[in-house]
């Protein structure tokens, strides 16, 4: 039995490329091609005596098509939504601060006898604390220990707090203005959920404001991908990426290319090598190197795209796996931001 297995092992190892060593275990032999630093040094030292002309990195013909890709992203526009625990924690800390901090120095902020002072007196009577966003709570009273919110209370909600601040400013403006005939309107902040979110418009750049959005285009075959085109000769990766962006998504965008190095790559292997009809060169697939880019203004426009792209979408990281293949996503996911 032992002789039989050993014989088969020896036969297999004889069929393997001869640069591999017998003394190396099988799992290491598989990865030895990509161990550049150590294996290059050792192989150089061993081959130097036998064949000095052969180098550690043999020049192979480029059998892959090299593409330049662009990860065009719109950074988050607003702060993220707080988790329920964070809301509760921040609110707890605010009330705790109210109990521990020095009292509010009213006379530094409100001159006696002014309308602002009268307004302040009314308000402090109502909410019992100078802070406007912690609800009704007296930090110096006997029952100041009762600082926890009951179930269903809205006080820890940021939307509620913003509304309270706006109402407070409005009532102050109304109480102190000379003209009592018309009511003051303090502008509310813009909603965090936009029209595009409600409509589910994935082409709009105004959607998902707390998230990073990425531009994905649909090729004429129906596949979704990040914009990419083959690199032409005598062209750097950065130039190719800029050309890709203008060719695929149009020139109606104000973009900024981040640095000169790719942030990620994607390798696609063909089932069988394709032979080019014109040159006859074999292609084993394509390798795409993605440059990072930010959009400042404008919108994608596919009408003049050279690749006859069908469609484009601005997607967050969570939405991208629905459109691209699993293999493609496994390559690109680590260069997409968490938020």
């Amino acid at each position: 039995m032992a002789t039989g297995t050993n014989g088969a092992r020896r036969a297999v190892s004889l069929l393997r490329p001869s640069r591999l060593d017998f003394g190396v275990c099988r799992s290491c032999q598989e990865t030895i091609g990509r161990r550049n630093y150590a294996s290059a040094a050792t192989s150089e030292s061993t081959t130097a005596s036998t064949t000095p002309s052969s180098s550690a990195f043999p020049v192979v013909s480029p059998v892959y098509t090299i593409n330049a890709g662009v990860v065009l992203s719109r950074p988050p526009q607003i702060t993220r939504d707080l988790e329920p625990f964070e809301k509760a924690y921040f609110f707890y800390q605010k009330r705790l601060n109210e109990r521990l901090a020095l009292p509010f120095t009213k006379y530094f902020y409100f001159k006696r006898g002014t309308p602002l002072d009268e307004d302040w007196k009314k308000k402090i009577q109502a909410r019992q604390t100078p802070a406007r966003d912690i609800g009704k709570y007296n930090a110096y009273a006997q029952d100041a220990w009762n600082d926890e919110l009951l179930l269903g209370a809205k006080e820890s909600d940021p939307e509620y707090q913003v509304e309270q601040l706006v109402l407070d400013a409005e009532s102050t403006a109304n109480a102190t203005s000379q003209d009592t005939s018309k009511k003051e309107e303090i502008p509310r902040p813009h909603p965090r959920v936009t029209e595009a979110d409600k409509k589910g418009d994935q082409k709009s750049l105004n959607r998902l404001l707390p998230r990073t959005l990425y531009l994905l285009v649909q090729s004429k075959d129906g596949y979704w991908k990040l914009p990419s085109t083959p690199i032409q000769t005598q062209e750097t990766l950065r130039e190719a990426a800029e050309r890709t962006l203008s060719q695929t998504a149009g020139v109606n965008m104000n973009t900024w290319m981040v640095g000169f190095h790719p942030a990620g790559h994607h390798v696609y292997n063909n089932r069988k090598p394709h032979a080019d009809k014109v040159t006859g060169a074999e292609s084993h697939g394509e390798k795409t190197f993605f440059m990072k880019s930010r959009i400042m203004a404008g919108q994608a426009d596919l009408s003049a795209s050279a690749e006859k792209l069908k469609d484009f979408k601005w997607l967050s990281k969570e939405e991208i796996p629905q459109f691209v293949t699993q293999q493609y996503y496994s390559y690109i996911k680590n260069m997409l931001a968490d938020r």
Binding site: G7, V12, P17, I32, G33, P75, F108, K292, R294, R339
Partner: protein, 355 residues
Amino acid sequence: MAAREPSRYLARGLPRTFVPSARSQAFLNRRNVSDEAPARRLSDQLEDLETASSLTTSVSESAASSFDPIARSKTRKTQLPRGRYQFRSPKYDRGPLHPHQPPAPSDPSSRLFVPGPFALPRAEQTYNSTVASDILTLCYVHTPPGFKPPPKAPRLREWDDSSPYHKNRPLRGPRGGDVLRLLRKPIKFNNIPKIERITLHSYVKEAAQDNSGWLHVAGIAVQAISNVRVETFKSKASVANWSLVPGRDTVAVKAELQGENMYHFLGKLIDVVLPRLKDWPGVKGSSGDSSGNITFGLEPEQMALFPEIEVNYDMYPPKMIPGCHITLHTTAKADKDARLLLSAMGIPFYGKIVQ
């Protein structure tokens, strides 16, 4: 048995030889830890942590509405003695063997406890979501496999032993001055420059000449815009024209901002104050202490643009509002990196950029 074993090895081994390269197969077999990392939502992690959280458990409507802690405490016939629920930390440290030990500073009953944080500042979120990853991409330096950086001269020079007195002498500093610059390491994921702290410093020379009111106003103004208690400093220099005597006159206030206060201040500075400055070209491109800290100044009328001072501007004596120096301390080891970080955060620079 023996007949079957070799065929298995052959069947497993043979196709490998006909694969074009070992590399493509190696990629297919490779497994990364990140492949199996779960989606990182804080809510999911919290659910894993504790299923019976007060945030998630459902309570019946009647139980929730009828719960009134104040009324419940009033129905108690005898109240708890104060010492049972209100712990007071000892005022003095009486050593580790004393039975009455102070609680940890993170305990709210500790005298050292500082409440907070109260919010997630926007500037911090911008840094984490956008700026940090962009800096990492911008500062990437590609070193091909097998690359060895050229050897550098030692930072401290040795004596050349031309004299017998050189023996056992300490090493010499670098040429052109004895300041040993910080070592700048390549920027990787674990040393992306970030803002460490901000110092507001205001020197009021009138505090020595006129009266202490100048210093009080300066302290209140700096405190108002920074939300940090200020420290005061006495003069070290002797200036006869300003009638300054070292060690006698208190002439400066300083506030050190860190964490949440720092990011709130930075947000206000970048989004509210700096855009409203008239004819302000930006921060000078040559500013910086060559180890990643950038300083610039604000004039008194520019200080008044902070919303905290604007809201009750009348309460400050207009002449006494101070100017201040703002130092942005970053973890960058060179001014070049600090400027990259600060301009990404939104602080403009002008003029010749000195690296």
